[in-house]
């Protein structure tokens, strides 16, 4: 990268040297990347891709200063991955990063689903989709569960119309907005296969891997920190065991399952404290989640399949 830069500097009309380091510092991307690193556990391929995009945009900034042509980069993305792997969170960060890099002007995120784009009667879809696109201009349009836009079983479905408008806008107004499609891997694949135009207009297909149990543990710690709770030593190993068990059960939703488990543990902790309400409580008692709070979960009862289903997280 450096040699390329040096060359352009030598060739360019301006003899000024171009410093990537200063550009990096000026853009405040470092803060965002740091935050990304601190708040998002794992997700190595995602972080690599984000870093790649950051470098390219920074180099482009310098190229512009050097008077070199900078072809408008297509930054439409698709995030695929299992539930709870952090697609929405990363999308939100992405808007921030792109804003700091000056790629989008405002850096807000407009999150929509099928309902916001597709109308209910003929002629309703186009204005509705355009409205959303107008709101997203200057920022990032995040379409969650994008595959619902396309319903092959109903050929009169208005979703197709929304897709066509989206495609047109993604092509014509690249500098005005960035579109991010997100959804579960297999269904997104089917969606792209039936809409090849969509697939080819998306430059970045980013797959979100499932978390390992170690990563889930780290996520749990992070969540507890934010909620200002601590795990007792016993509870730590119990939670580790819980995660290992939960992972093998159906409807496992990665970080979302962990969050739900922690929420339920908080409930149990509260009732445990309430049960012995006569005793005086220290601050530490209010903060600590004990092993028994986690141990009471149905996951430890080796539940029958029906029960697992009830326990399983509902996808929204």
């Amino acid at each position: 990268m450096n040699s390329v830069l040096k060359q352009t500097a030598d060739d360019g009309a301006h003899d000024a040297s171009f410093n990537l380091e200063t550009a990096f510092r000026d853009s405040h991307v470092a803060d965002v990347l740091e935050k990304l690193e601190a708040e998002l556990v794992g997700l190595a391929p995602v972080k690599t891709r984000i870093r790649d995009i950051c470098s390219l945009l920074l180099v482009d900034t310098l190229r512009r200063q050097a008077g070199l042509s900078t072809e408008a980069l297509s930054l439409h993305m698709s995030f695929t991955g299992n539930p709870g792997t952090g697609k929405t969170t990363v999308a939100m960060r992405m808007a921030e990063i792109l804003h700091h890099l000056g790629y989008v002007r405002k850096g807000h995120l407009v999150a929509v689903t099928r309902d916001d784009l597709v109308g209910q009667y003929i002629g309703h879809t186009a204005p509705k989709t355009r409205e959303v696109l107008k709101r997203a201009m200057g920022g990032v349009l995040f379409i969650d569960e994008a595959y619902y836009l396309y319903r092959p079983e109903n050929e009169r479905d208005y979703g197709q119309e929304a897709i066509e408008i989206l495609l047109q806008e993604m092509e014509n107004h690249r500098d005005d907005l960035v579109v991010i499609l997100a959804g579960y891997e297999d269904r997104m694949e089917r969606f792209f296969r039936s809409n090849p135009g969509m697939s080819s207009r998306i430059a970045h297909h980013i797959a979100f891997p499932d978390y390992t149990s170690e990563e889930l543990m780290a996520i749990a710690q992070l969540m507890l920190e934010q909620m200002q709770y601590v795990l007792s030593a016993d509870a730590q190993s119990t939670l580790r065991e819980y995660i290992a068990r939960r992972q093998t059960q159906p409807h496992f939703a990665n970080a979302r399952s962990v969050r739900n488990a922690l929420d339920r543990a908080r409930l149990r902790q509260a009732s445990r404290l309430f049960a012995k309400r006569g005793a005086s409580l220290a601050k530490q008692d209010l903060m600590t989640i004990e092993a028994e709070d986690i141990r009471a979960s149905r996951v430890f009862a080796e539940p029958a399949p029906v029960e697992t289903q009830r326990q399983g997280e509902l996808q929204t």
């Binding site: 002007r105 107008k134 005005d176």
Partner: protein
């Protein structure tokens, strides 16, 4: 005769870049921007045709600029204005309104006098353009 209505109307016509930054200012204040057009430029004609509904919750001027372009394309020879509505409680009215397009030829206004009883004279203003039926005025 050049029509002078709304803000900036005594200045040369705004360029698109200038219009865009004016809209940007409106959006920063949280005003809802709308586009309207008319072919009846009478100063008392407050009700212009709406080109689409007012745009709430926008963050960037690009969307409104496109609406302006769209309106210019659909009605190439009309007066078009951009309004910014402030919905703050107690204000609830337009904060800013300015022309973004005008017909190539503006014939101006005619002053009408009507004799009333007792040498009383009533005055009226009428655009020369409105003598023709709607749709054929400019």
């Amino acid at each position: 005769m050049r029509l002078t209505q709304g803000t900036f109307s005594f200045l040369p016509d705004l360029t698109d870049a200038q219009i865009s930054s004016q809209i940007e200012y409106c959006l920063q204040r949280g005003w809802a921007v709308s586009v309207e057009y008319t072919e009846d430029p009478h100063p008392r004609n407050t009700y212009w045709e709406m080109f689409g509904i007012p745009m709430f919750d926008l963050k960037d001027a690009a969307g409104i600029m496109r609406e302006v372009q769209e309106c210019r394309k659909t009605f190439p020879n009309r007066y078009i204005k951009v309004n910014a509505f402030d919905s703050t409680r107690g204000v609830e009215s337009l904060r800013l309104s300015f022309l973004v397009a005008r017909p190539d030829e503006e014939p101006g206004f005619e002053l009408l006098r009507e004799e009333g009883p007792g040498r009383q004279v009533r005055y009226a203003l009428r655009s020369y353009a409105t003598r023709r039926p709607e749709g054929h005025r400019y």
